[in-house]
């Protein structure tokens, strides 16, 4: 009986690995963002879907971009820092201040994403889950409480509609 219950339990989160990655996320974020400790952090990702047609082979490709997403409730600001699944480094931050963006909302279909339009020219759609196991594509981190806090902030303080 014990064997089968373990079999159907599903994958277990390695909390030591998750905590180590959370520390790395904080280190990277604080390195590039001034007063980084004023922001709470979650891991998010973007999906860029493009179509291709190479003659008799055609289909769609999805490019995954990893982000460290920081938010400050008092300033109503979200900061997105591009990174990679192993958190070996990061790019420059992009700031989204509620007073300066065009619009922000939570998309439900086709994907559950937090969408921000900084201006009319483009947008960013941030996807986030409490835990993703595939370390080749996503940062391995458990973040159910942080995700709930970010969702609450985004829906009730940041979203424009």
């Amino acid at each position: 009986m014990g064997f089968f219950s373990k079999l159907f339990k599903g994958p277990e989160i390695d909390m030591a690995k998750s905590d180590a990655n959370a520390k790395k996320m904080r280190a990277l974020f604080n390195q590039v963002v001034e007063d980084g400790d004023r922001y709470q952090l979650i891991f998010g990702y973007t999906e860029d879907v493009s179509r291709f047609n190479y003659g008799f082979v055609h289909g769609s490709k999805t490019k995954i971009g990893n982000l460290i997403v920081g938010w400050n409730e008092a300033d109503e600001t979200i900061v997105a820092v591009p990174t990679v699944p192993d958190l070996s480094g990061c790019g420059d931050p992009t700031y989204y201040r509620r007073s300066q963006i065009l619009k922000a909302y939570r998309n439900k279909y086709p994907t559950d994403a937090f969408v921000i339009y900084p201006d009319k020219k483009g947008y960013i759609a941030i996807n986030a889950y409490d835990w993703l196991e595939d370390e080749s594509l996503y940062v391995y981190v458990s973040q159910d409480k942080e995700l709930a806090a970010f969702t609450d902030f985004f829906l009730h303080r940041f979203a424009t509609k």
Binding site: Q31, V57, C90
Partner: protein, 51 residues
């Protein structure tokens, strides 16, 4: 069944061939471009152990 497997393999090979050619062409156009800014993870500060 074998025909399907052969088609899948051929399709994959063709896809990867075209992708590598396109990648090479893109590199030619990106020669003069500056690489994107990248900040490596800072080394962990060693904890000082009190003896």
């Amino acid at each position: 069944m074998l025909l399907l497997a052969a088609a899948a393999v051929a399709g994959n090979l063709w896809f990867h061939l075209v992708e590598s050619v396109l990648h090479g062409v893109r590199k030619l156009f990106d020669r003069g471009k500056e690489p994107p800014v990248w900040h490596p993870l800072p080394p962990e500060k060693e904890e000082k152990n009190d003896v």
